[in-house]
Amino acid sequence: MNDQLAFFTVGIPLFGAIFASLAGLWRAHWCQRIAQTAIVGTAIVTVGLFLQVNEVGAVHYQLGGWPAPIGIQFHVDPLNALVLIVITVFAGLALWAAPTALQDELPGQERFVYPLMLLLVTGLLGMTVTGDAFNLYVMLEITSLSSYALVAIGKGRAAVSCFTYIVMGTIGASFYLLGVGYLYLKTGSLNMLDIKRVMLEGHLIQSQTSITGFILITVGLWIKMGLFPLHGWLPNAYAFAPHAVTNLIAPLMTKVSVYVAVRYMLMVFTPDFMLAHENWSDIGQIIACVAIGAGSLIAYSQTDLKKLLCYLLVAEVGYMVGGMWLVNPVAFKGVIYHIVSDAAMTSCLFLGAASVIQATGHRHVHALRHAAKTMPWTFAAFVLGFLSMIGVPPTCGFFSKWFLISGAVAEGAWWYVAALLFSSLMNALIFFRLVEMALFSDVAHPADEVMDMGKNGEAAIGLRLPLWVSSLFVLGIGLAAQPFGGWIERIVRQVGGWP
């Protein structure tokens, strides 16, 4: 049974989606249980897979029994086993919070929402686990389609935002598809490892076609992860989606796209390929610095709580892209660590925002007024997430910044260091603005009257529990930073071929 584990990571949520949608035809409340059971099962499988891979090294699973370049194969190394665990854990938290969040917003929609959520998780897991470039496109599309549908279910501006998301998302996915076509044209293969082998053996890696393929894939993934000049769809789509959906897609979708980009850099195009073009690294970093600066600045000007967090997310994407383009093992350690820690803190922050909005009924940042008094527990977890976003030591955000900065210092990329510090500063400013509202609410403010603030209690327990668990993750990942970071660095050196 051990050699089938890789398949079950994708298989369990897929079958879960089918059965959840079947059950929805008769008993809508079964959907939720099936979805949660499926995600717990997947989590167990991914942990088992992680332990197995950590012991024996990379595992390959041949679908259809055909050997690698002929058929599709799953490629699981310790790095993507880690990402698989991250996906299932935070998807599990989102699904845990989903029933409470859905109750107010979308009553009677469970029979559609849960199967779509499971299909989304299936796609994310598939994108991480697959070793085939075209299969990744199919997985990307199933992820995108389910997220389009989930975003568009929302009320108000959700539909208009979703249309922009569809157009941009299709451009991104099509660019990716075109890039894969260029690689196929040059190598005749679709398997990632095989593409790398053919390109290295035939010295095709510096040909015009391979370079264009790389650019197309990179730009496609940039659109998918919402890097700054291409981020237009992200804030509105995530902010106006139903809370249950935002909790699921905001922590995971951008991270998985970043992971796919990391994988293309390390596994298909080698680090040597990146270093052969000296100005590329600079261009990547300039874009990342602009993204970090712009994301933080726009976030400061937002008055909508969820939208503010979305712009912070845009800045975080800049961190990871900048770290990738430093092309050194320490920076890659920072990127991988940041994927994990950013999933934890965005999960914590968006769950916190969902709790606050659910408890007060308002999405304006003024919803946080009196929060320290009326909902201390919810607010405490929210503060923990935000401290991590700033980078205060015991939390995981500090260590990810630390690793990224030490990677940047080794390369002498001072602008990137400056952008990271600037972003910390801006996050601190935003944080103090929010804390001021929550703590010093004795000073009268017109919003109290208009929004009828200060009379609500804590958020529902169904939202608070996942919120606390995610804030514990924020702390736990930070406390385990040293051994965990060392382990990541060892794996990154192994995968990227650094000594």
Binding site: G156, F163, V167, T170, S174, L177, L178, G181, Y184, L185
Partner: protein
């Protein structure tokens, strides 16, 4: 001159694919009407499919269905059959395209139900009001 002609003619599929892709991409970005944007999306996606199909073309080759006679009596000559792999990939891409189109049209209907228009400028004005 003949070199240039040959150069153009020998790759004209690739030139046209680039032109169609540019038309589709331009429409997706700059058209104000949402249905027009989706038509642009269809053109964009089909142009990529055209690119893939062009990869697999072999001159003097037939469709990729093996002749029983060849199997039994002689060897299968690879050059006689078009490359099947891009065709398989593009079947999947067409399906994905129609699924995306369907979701896009559903979103357009929802937008029209809410705002009564599918023109971007009027829509954004309407959204800002509410």
């Amino acid at each position: 001159m003949t070199d240039l002609m040959e150069f153009v003619v020998s790759r004209f599929n690739y030139w046209i694919y680039v032109v169609l892709m540019m038309i589709g991409l331009y429409a997706m970005i700059s058209k104000r009407n949402y249905v027009k944007k989706l038509i642009g999306m269809t053109i964009f996606q089909t142009s990529i499919i055209l690119f893939y199909v062009s990869i697999g073309v072999k001159s003097n080759a037939t469709i990729p269905i093996v002749d029983h006679h060849d199997v039994v009596h002689s060897e299968i000559l690879v050059d006689h059959y078009a490359n099947p792999l891009p065709h398989v990939l593009m079947l999947t891409a067409i399906v994905v395209g129609v699924a995306t189109l369907g979701v896009g049209l559903a979103v357009i209907e929802k937008i029209y139900r809410q705002h009564g228009t599918i023109e971007e400028p009027e829509l954004l004005a309407d959204v800002d009001q509410t």
